[in-house]
């Protein structure tokens, strides 16, 4: 059983929901990312998603796009991020997923990537532009190395496809709130509860909701109907607003604490 599965088991026992945080690795620096991961795990964040910066992040809105660009300017690459996870593993057991577009994995080599990720202590991968239909080899490799490939379901996923995805999904299912890209939204869509119910009919795996979540009201809403919530852009924005500030880590962690303890 890997750390993600274990985490959801523990949460279920305590009747708790997962609070999952996304940050772009290397934004504004690998050192800050390292500190943030440790502090997040201390305040009870359940899972960390580390974004691997990419030149053409199709699924991302301006906030994450900008963070990716900045990390790339600092020449951050997959090797740096894998090493970061390795270092951080000495100090924390928090489940860590790498969120990346497919091309960086393809160029690294699927086998080489999965093996290295596994050795460094990565627990899962989330790849927005790899449809499961194209993911056969990666999924097989990841199973062999006990890494979870987290799959997406969106409001436009057909029932047939949803069933297929539920069958191959591991770790948790990432439900995307909106048809759209990442970025904070004022309100969650009205069809959210209904769509989640429909997914739950086809799977017992945990379903976590992400994209657009930026305040405690939304987190509360999601806690009522899903197994977890994923917050990304709102946190990356907090990082951006505090760049240059010596208290950056503390401020971002406080923000995350407030969201989590809604």
């Amino acid at each position: 059983m890997n750390r993600i599965e274990q985490k959801f088991k523990e949460l279920k026992k305590q009747n708790q929901k997962a609070f999952i945080v996304f940050i772009t690795a290397g934004y504004p620096s690998l050192d800050i990312t390292y500190k943030l991961i440790l502090e997040f795990s201390k305040v009870g964040v359940d899972i960390i998603e580390l974004g691997v910066p990419f030149s053409d992040p199709m699924a991302d809105g301006p906030i994450i796009q900008e963070s990716s660009q900045a990390a790339l300017k600092n020449k951050i690459n997959i090797t740096h991020i894998l090493n970061l996870v390795k270092r951080v593993r000495d100090k924390t057991r928090i489940p860590i997923c790498l969120m990346t577009y497919y091309n960086p994995i393809f160029c690294f080599g699927e086998k080489r990537f999965i093996e290295a990720a596994s050795v460094c202590g990565v627990d899962g991968v989330i790849i927005p532009d790899l449809p499961p239909e194209e993911g056969d080899s990666l999924i097989k490799l990841s199973r062999r190395h006990h890494l979870d490939v987290v799959c997406f379901i969106s409001p436009t996923t057909s029932i047939e496809r949803m069933k297929k995805i539920c069958a191959i999904a591991r770790g948790f299912i990432y439900y995307v709130t909106f048809t759209g890209v990442t970025g904070p939204r004022q309100n969650l869509p009205s069809d959210l509860a209904g769509n989640l119910r429909a997914i739950k009919k086809h799977t017992r795996k945990p379903v976590c909701v992400g994209f657009g979540v930026s305040d405690s009201r939304q987190v509360r809403q999601i806690y009522k109907i899903a197994d977890g919530v994923i917050v990304g852009s709102a946190i990356v924005k907090k990082i951006k607003d505090n760049i240059g500030n010596p208290d950056l880590v503390q401020r971002v962690v406080n923000f995350v604490k407030k969201l989590k303890e809604c």
Partner: protein, 292 residues
């Protein structure tokens, strides 16, 4: 599909104008994504699109050219998929786009094949076309695929030369990667970050290429070569002065390549060159570069 809005990306603006035209005819809302740099160098087409009632949305990210316009159009599409259809301008993107666009464009090759057989009573020796995303080339090549003796030459943009790193010769100088929903040739660094392409021709300025071209290269059905900015300008002059046709900068690359073919052909050889776009859109750039 009951959609009232269409979007498209455009580099040189030709596809944008075509999309705006059809939107005007059918009363659809139309938004065209275009890199800011491309808007600057293809002003005539920007004007045309606006005149036709489309909104031209400037894309400021990345190199501000075709790749960035495509990424932004994809973002719009996933956000508005219920009301919006995305008409991709080349044989790129997620399946079934490369196939669809090839099928639509192959009117070029079908008509060319019919006409050349009628006129010359035989098939051509060479087909030459410029390759950015690759739609005009695939349109010309595809209907001749089974005619094994017909050689295909795709001409990519050599930009400022390979050593400068500023070019768009994806199949000649690039590797394999996944961008915009397909696995194909890609100009990328060793970490898979997409490189910024460059060409004097906005329509060739793309670091990717249609997957079917990558396939043709792999199986040896087509050869891909590169022609640089200066050579393209020479090609443009050549066709203007010899035939009285002012080509766009994109196919000017293909025209120039005919000079290289000189040693492989004789006066009985038949070569078909595809002239994509039109030269009036490039008069500003060309006038500046040629100091006429």
């Amino acid at each position: 599909m009951q959609k009232r809005r269409i979007i498209a990306e455009t580099g040189a603006g030709q596809h944008g104008v075509a999309t705006a035209t059809v939107a005007a005819m059918f009363g659809l809302e139309c938004d065209i994504y275009m890199g800011e740099e491309d808007m600057r160098r293809q002003r005539l087409n920007v004007f045309r699109m606006k005149l036709l009632g489309a909104r031209v949305i400037p894309v400021k990210s990345g190199s501000q050219t075709l790749k960035d316009a495509t990424t932004e159009a994809l973002r719009d599409w996933v956000s508005n998929v219920r009301t919006t259809h995305y008409i991709i301008g080349s044989v790129v993107g997620p399946h079934p786009y490369p196939m669809m666009v090839r099928d639509f464009q192959s009117v070029i090759g079908r008509e060319a094949r019919r006409q050349i057989l009628k006129k010359e009573k035989r098939l051509p020796d060479y087909l030459v076309a410029c390759v950015g995303g690759g739609s005009n080339a695939m349109g010309l090549f595809y209907p001749f695929f089974k005619d094994k003796k017909v050689k295909f030459i795709g001409v990519e943009a050599g930009g400022l030369g390979f050593s400068s790193g500023k070019h768009a010769a994806t199949l000649v100088e690039g590797s394999v990667g996944v961008l915009h929903g397909s696995k194909s040739g890609l100009l990328e660094d060793k970490f898979g970050q997409v490189k910024i392409a460059h060409s004097i021709a906005a329509g060739l300025d793309y670091p990717g290429v249609g997957p079917e071209h990558a396939y043709y290269k792999k199986i040896g059905r087509a050869n891909y070569v590169a022609v640089d900015d200066q050579q393209a300008l020479e090609g443009l002059r050549l066709l203007s002065e010899i035939e009285g046709i002012i080509p766009a900068l994109e196919p000017a690359h293909a025209i120039f390549y005919l000079k290289k073919l000189k040693d492989k052909i004789n006066k009985n050889s038949i070569i078909i060159v595809c002239l994509s776009g039109r030269g009036d859109k490039d008069t500003d750039i060309v006038a500046e570069k040629l100091r006429l």
